[in-house]
Structure formats: C-alpha cells, structure tokens
C-alpha cells in the first residue's frame, strides 16, 4: 500500500521537476492557474460545507446535495434572463446580482429542507445503507424533475458587463469575475462560520453533531436542528451555484454532479464533519485541479494532461480515503463511526 502511495508521490515530484525545468509555462501562467484554482476551489469549499455539516449531524452522505446546488441557480436563471431582457441587469447590476443570489439561495434552501423532510427524516433509525440509497434516488428525481420543468438544454447565463475584463492588483492581472467569486465566497464562508460558532442555533447544531441523545436531554430540538443544518447547507450551495454560474456562464440540469462529487472529495480531504476543514479542502482541491495537470503530468510526457484533471481529483480522493481517512483536519471518523 505504502509502496503505491510513495510511488505516486515520487511520480508527482518527478513530473513537477521535469515540468519546471522544461520551462514551458511562464510565471504568468502559474499565477493564472492559481487564481483560477482559488476561484473554483472556493466554490467547492462552499458546497463542501453542506456535505460536511450534514455528515456531522446525521453521519450520512447527502448524495442529493449536488442537486440542491443545481436547483438554485437553474431557477434563478429565469430571473436573470428576465432582468437581462428588460435592461434592468445592465442598469443596476449589483441590485440584480443580489436579487439573483436571494432567489437562488431561497430555492436551494427550500429543496434542501423538503429533501430532509421527505427522504431522510422517516429513515432516521434505518440501517445505514437505506438513507444512502434514498439520497441517490432523490438525486435522480430532482435532476430529472428540473430537466422536465426547465428543459434539457444548456442555458447561457446573461453576462454581467461589470464583471468582464480584469483588474490589476499589485502588478497582477486578475479577471474581474474570478476575483469577485473569490471575495464573495470568502465572505460567505466567514458568515457561515461565525453563524455556526457564534449563534445559539450554531451552538445547538454543534451539540447535535457531538451527541444527539445528550443534546435532546439538554432541551435541544434535535429534528429542528437537523432541518437547520440542511437549510444552512442549502443556502451555501445556492450561493455557490450563482458563483458557479457567474464563472462558467451556463446552467444545466446535470451541472451539479461533478462539482458535487468534487465538493464531497473536498469535504473528505479536509476531514468530514469539520467545517474549516471542508473550506480548506475545497480550496486545496481547486488549486490541485488547476495546477496539477500542468505541473505533475506534463513533465511525465502525458499527452493532453488537462483531460486528466478529474482523474487527479478522484485519485486524491481515493488516496486520502486509503491513507488518511481522517482528512487534513478531521478526527478519526471513517473507520470507527462509519
């Protein structure tokens, strides 16, 4: 086992040295990679908080979280498109962006709340495999419901003129929308973190994830707190969805799947059940994905390394699960409690 791990690490280092010594990419390229990675990673991080919080309280993977992520921006697309047609979007870009955020977060929150009520709550004491399967089922159901409702094509998100072009900060040129995505995501993560750490509800949620019976004895409404967890995770996913739509400029009923798996990977990477860990894991994964193919694989002489960026993410997932199931910041959950 360790031999394989060591071998992979050796290959990665060797590839990195080969790439760097070949000097195909300039410093500009690397900076672009890093910024793109940060932007993508902060979106993963926001989604990952939802996975990690649900895992914390219920010890289950909410497979349908990727659909919670998809539902918000897909619905908000119609608001954005209506704004765009009426010219409101160009006249008041900040107000309309805010409005899009609110719609998206509201829809995602609603879906997450309903999901918990219908698909998970009745199965609180069922064997472990059962809620996982309902989660997969709910995920399909939501995907294809939205496909049926809104159609199966890609919808192009309207372009915010304000966010086109780039700013130059400290001599580094940054694409505007990438910077906005990073800033918004960091802001949202700070808000979420302080909500969980500072408010009474946040405290109650942490208590529930620590020990359900004991917190019920302390007068905490456990079911309500579990609902709250889904609500918070849903809101974060809805916001992440808008950021994703701003960055990639399109929405689709299947758009949740890959970011969902990536965000889950991020949550595992950071140590599932641990909110700062999920954020860290998300950003780390985003960076690895954007830098990795060029840094590690290019040097090994692999053709078209960018095609393998998902393979890097999944390889990291598998490696983390094998060698450090606790993740970067997590406690030892995977083997014991799972």
């Amino acid at each position: 086992m360790w031999l394989i791990g060591g071998g992979l690490i050796f290959l990665a280092i060797w590839g990195a040295i080969a790439t760097l010594s070949a000097g195909v990419y300039s410093a500009r390229h690397w900076i672009d990679f890093v910024i793109f990675g940060l932007a993508q990673g902060s979106i993963y991080a926001l989604i990952a908080t939802g996975y990690t919080m649900v895992y914390g309280v219920l010890r289950m993977i909410n497979f349908a979280h990727s659909e919670v992520f998809m539902s918000g921006p897909y619905t908000a697309y119609f608001v954005a498109a209506a704004f765009y047609r009426s010219g409101f979007l160009d006249a008041h870009p900040i107000v309309s962006l805010l409005f899009i955020f609110i719609v998206s977060m509201a829809i995602s929150t609603g879906i997450a709340f309903a999901l918990e009520r219908v698909a998970y709550r009745p199965l609180r004491n069922a064997p472990r495999l059962v809620p996982l399967i309902t989660a997969i089922g709910a995920s399909f159901f939501l995907q294809y419901t939205f496909r049926g409702l809104y159609g199966s094509g890609f919808q192009a998100y309207p372009v915010f003129k304000m966010l086109e072009g780039h700013w130059t900060i400290l001599g580094i040129r940054i694409l505007r929308f990438q910077l906005v995505v990073i800033l918004a995501a960091v802001l949202l993560m700070l808000a979420l973190y302080s909500f969980v750490m500072r408010t009474r509800i946040g405290k109650a949620i942490r208590a529930v994830s620590e020990d359900k019976e004991a917190s019920a004895l302390m007068g905490i409404d456990v079911d309500k707190m579990i609902s709250m967890t889904f609500v918070i995770g849903g809101a974060a996913a809805g916001a992440a969805g808008v950021l994703y739509a701003v960055m990639f400029k399109q929405v689709h009923f299947f758009m949740g799947f890959i970011p969902g798996i990536k965000a889950f990977t991020a949550a595992v990477l950071g140590g599932i059940g641990n909110i700062p860990g999920a954020m860290l894991g998300g950003i780390f994964l985003g960076l690895m994905e954007s830098i990795g193919p060029s840094l590690f694989l290019d040097g090994l002489g692999i053709v078209a390394p960018y095609q393998l960026k998902d393979a890097i993410a999944f390889t990291m997932l598998v490696l983390v699960l094998i060698f450090r199931p606790t993740g970067i910041l997590g406690e030892r959950l995977a083997v014991k409690k799972a």
Binding site: I136, Y144, G148, A304, A338
Partner: protein
C-alpha cells in the same frame, strides 16, 4: 378532542400533496408524453390514467386516515382530497391561459392545457376537470366501503386493463402467433390502445377469474399439496420443463425488437447477479462496478478487434483473458478499500470507476484503448461455424451466461463462503471474532462480482461490435445498484425481476425513456420508505427488516440468520 378537525386538516394536506403532484406531473411533461398512448382507444389516454390514479390513490389514503370517524367524514375527506387534487391542475390551466408560463416551464404549452381540460372549451373544461376530481374522490370512497374481495377484484381488473393498454406493443405480437387465437388481437386492440369492448371484456373475464380463484383457490392449493409426492415431483418437473421450453423458444415468440430488449435485460441480469454478490451478499456498497464491465469489454475488444490489430484472437480464446482480467481488477481495486465501510467504500469505488473511465477516454492512452472513438470491428461469436449476430441469436449466448452465473451464485449463496459473506454483511466485527478471514472473504466477493461483470462486458462487446468509453459511465453502476435494490437485495430471482422492471419496461415504453431516471429516483425513495426489502426479497432479509421494527428482537434474529 378536535379529532374531526384533524381529519379535515389531513384531507386538505393530502389534497395539497395531490395538487402538487399532479401539477408537477403535468409540468415536467409526463402527462403530455404519456397521452400519446391510448389505454382505451380514443377514450382514455395513459396521461389521464396517470392523473386519475394519483387522485384515487390519495383520496383512498385520506379515507383511510378518517376511517375511525364514521362514514360521513370518510365521504367528506375523500371528496375534499379529490377536488383539491383536481383543483391544483385547474389552477394551473387558468394561470397558464392568462400568463405565458412557457418562458420558464418548457412543457406548459397550450396543448397540455387542452389535454388537461379534456379538449373542451375552458368554460366547460375547467368545471369538468373539478368534477373529475370529485369523481376520483367518490370512486375512492366506493372502493373504501366495498367489501375486501370486491375491492381486490376492482383494483386487479382495472389495473390489468391498464397494463394491457400500456404493454400493447408487447402483447400484440405475442398474441398474433397463437394461430387460431390470433383473432383476439382484432377484438382486443384498436389502432392505438384497447377497444372499448375489448377493455370491458377483459375486465369482466379477469373479475370472474378472480372471483372464482378467491372461492376455489385454496381448494386447488390444498389439492396440490395433498397429492402423492411422486405426482408432486412430476408437477414440479413439468413446470420446470415448460419454463425451459419457453426460455428456449422466447426469441422466436417475441420477434426481433423484443428479443433485443430481452438481450439487454439479460446483460443487466448478468451484471446484477455479479453486483448482488458484492452488495447483496457481502454488503459492500460498490459504486464503481461498471469498471469491471469496462475491463471485460475492453479486453475482448483489444484482443479480438482487427482495428487495433494487436492480437486478432477469436472470442472464445479472448473470453478467459477478459474474465481473468476482471478478477484481477476486482482484487486490485478491492485491496485498497478493504478497511473502508459503508458510504466511504461507496465513494472510493465511485472514484475508482471514474478514474478508469477518464483514463480510457484520455488521449494519453489512445494508441492502446482508442480514446473517445473507442474500438470497433469486434467480430461476432461463432461456435463451429454457427455465428451469433442477430439479437435472436445472441439471446442464447446471454441465456447461457445467465444460467451459468445464476447457478454459480445460487450454489455460492448456500456455501461456506456465502454464509461468511452474509455474516460480514451483518456485522464485520462479530464475523471476524467468529473466525472469518475478512480479507479473503471480501476479496472473494469483489473478485466473483468482477468476474461476472467482465463476462457480461465481453458479451456486450461482441453484441454491440464496438466499445466506447461513454458506455461505461457511473450511471450504469447506479442502474445496476437500483435494480438489485428494487428486486430485493441478496435475492437471485429479485435481480431478474428488478432488471425486467427497471431495464425492460423503459425499453418497451419509449415515452418512459425520457422519464426513466425520474421514475427510478422516485421509485427508489418510495421503495426505501415503504418496502425496503424489495419486490422479491430474500426470505432472511425480509424477516430482518421487519424484525428491526421491534428493536429488542434484533440480537436474537441476527443469531438465527448467521
């Protein structure tokens, strides 16, 4: 107590659920798509049937809720639920006719509204729609107060007519080869759907048969069980013989298209039997199962295809390599995940499956694996000159595979290894304490499952004649998992039932194809909530799942089943 109030409240709640469901069904386009198929020619379409079923079912549910409060309240509750359910649709029609909802909801077309108000003018159609909701409520009420035997006859009769209408394309060709009886087709079926007379006749015949069965069924059963053992054995062998003859003659009975469907179902049965060992017997949730299917297909493709020209082997010499490669892949992917459990295992295997697919798809390995274009020109299977090329011929290949694999899994289930798997499924730690070698047991499960999957992949490769990475995405793994769960985990007949229901039915109902995954999803959730043991469960597992409702009984039962 305000018991009366809570009944009205629950009736209204259920009605709201009904309104939401029917509106959703209309907006996602299911009603529109299904209405192209008539159940009774030019009278009832499948779309209407869908909506009416929702109305009747929910009204019946609220009748059940109100059952202890007297018939008057039951009557009221059913009517409220019925009219609310249709009220939702009526509201949709009214709103849709004033505002153009099509900007957002692609299916909210005028054609849909016309369909919902039965093709009449809005001023007449909307009241009619509400009235149909009332009728649903009334019908549910009648069903509720009817004696159980009558209720059963009504439900079975109506649902078999509906099923006959839905499956008309399947039934028609089958009936047409009955020789002198082929005339039934003309009586029963119109251009699209059943004829009115045919539908009514069928309903009557089924009702009468049901009625007699209810009266005489037990007598026949006791008669059979009191037969001398020799005769009983004869009866049993007779049934098996008839089954074998049907299995062998099936492609000739069904014709080309249906044979194709059957071969697809057969491939999924093969896959399902393999995954059944991993998930159903050993309890290892594997979401990367399609990887082994891909390994089998690709090994056969690489070894046989002249397009790459490495080996140019025949199918039969390539097959052992494919199966061995599958076993190796199973063990190789099994080793790293040995220590993981439950959802972690699921995610890790999902990751593995995706890694393999991405690697195959990449340009990097293209010279060996063909990249996105895949590998073509895989030769057909031949046995001493007999070529398996059409679906009707390949059917026999798959049938042989299914019988072999089914036999192996049946024997394995009751073997020492099979019992060890089930012990691991129930509780790993206890199993280990009982002296079961966890590593060997789990690896055997992965290897056996992978071998079956690789076999299925090999047949798949020759059936299609080419392999593409896109045939091996994660959806296949999830489909297989779903069919096992729907059929009943760990149950071998369950796999066949599950494959027929989840793979066969959508192939037959082309309208369904678009909504296949939606129905899957809903069915999975409903299944887990209502019947977690599956359609054809394994006896042990059913007892387990129902014992768990009494928590005290679990330890005793676990001992009993180990």
């Amino acid at each position: 107590m305000n018991g009366g109030q809570s009944i009205w409240k629950s009736a209204v709640n259920i009605g709201a659920i009904g309104a939401l469901t029917t509106v959703l069904l209309s907006l996602i386009g299911m009603v529109g798509a299904f209405s192209k198929r008539d159940i009774i020619y030019e009278i009832v379409t499948m779309g209407h049937t869908l909506l009416l079923t929702v109305g009747v079912f929910l009204s019946f549910l609220s009748a059940k809720r109100a059952s202890q409060k007297g018939l008057g309240r039951v009557f009221g509750a059913t009517l409220i639920t019925g009219i609310l359910t249709s009220g939702g649709v009526a509201l949709l029609v009214i709103v849709g006719k004033t505002i153009n909802l099509r900007m957002v909801f692609v299916n909210a077309s005028p054609a849909l509204y016309q369909l919902l108000i039965f093709g009449f003018d809005a001023s007449f159609g909307v009241p009619l729609l509400l009235f149909s909701g009332l009728l649903c409520g009334l019908f549910a009420f009648l069903l509720f107060i009817a004696p159980p035997i009558l209720r059963r006859i009504l439900i079975t009769g109506i649902s078999s007519v509906a099923i006959a209408g839905v499956l008309q394309d399947l039934l028609r060709p089958i009936i047409s080869i009955w020789g002198p009886l082929a005339g039934i087709n003309d009586v029963l079926f119109a251009v699209n759907g059943l004829t009115l007379g045919g539908g009514l006749g069928m309903f009557l015949i089924i009702s009468v048969v049901m009625f007699f069965w209810a009266h005489k069924g037990n007598k026949i059963k006791t008669k059979i069980s009191t037969l001398p053992p020799g005769r009983q054995r004869m009866l049993k062998t007779g049934t098996w013989l008839i089954l074998a003859v049907i299995l062998i003659a099936l492609p000739q009975i069904l014709g080309l298209f249906l044979s194709e469907v059957i071969t697809i179902v057969g491939l999924y049965v093969l896959l399902g039997l393999g995954l059944n060992i991993v998930v159903g017997f050993a309890g290892l949730l594997d979401l990367g199962y399609v990887a082994f299917f891909a390994v089998g297909s690709y090994i056969v493709a690489i070894l046989t295809s002249p397009e790459l020209g490495f080996f140019n082997m025949g199918f039969w010499s390539a097959l052992p390599f494919a199966v061995i490669a599958g076993i190796l892949a199973g063990v190789l992917l099994g080793i790293p995940v040995l220590k993981m459990r439950g959802d972690y295992l699921a995610i890790a295997t999902l990751g593995f499956g995706e890694i393999i697919r991405i690697l195959v798809l990449s340009d990097w390995l293209r010279p060996w694996l063909g990249g996105a274009q895949g590998i073509g020109k895989i030769p057909n299977v031949t046995i001493s000159g007999y070529v398996f090329s059409t679906p009707q011929q390949i059917y026999y290949l798959i049938l042989a595979g299914c019988l072999l694999v089914g036999f192996i899994s049946w024997r394995l289930r009751d073997s020492r290894l099979g019992r060890a798997w089930m012990a691991v499924r129930e509780d790993e730690d206890v199993a280990q304490a009982m002296g079961i070698n966890l590593v060997a047991t789990k690896l055997m499960a992965f290897a056996t499952g992978a071998a079956f999957s690789a076999l299925s992949g090999a047949i798949f490769a020759t059936k299609i004649g080419s392999v593409y990475p896109h045939s091996f995405n994660v959806m296949i793994s999830i489909n297989i998992l779903c069919l096992i769960i729907v059929g009943g985990m760990g149950s071998i007949p369950g796999v066949i039932v599950g494959a027929a229901a989840l793979v066969g039915l959508p192939e037959l109902l082309r309208e369904f194809a678009e909504y296949r995954l939606l129905v899957y999803g809903a069915a999975l959730v409903a299944m887990m909530l209502l019947r977690p043991e599956g359609l054809w469960p394994e006896e042990k597992r059913r007892r387990e799942l129902h014992k768990e409702e009494e928590p005290e009984a679990v330890p005793a039962d676990a001992q009993g089943s180990a």
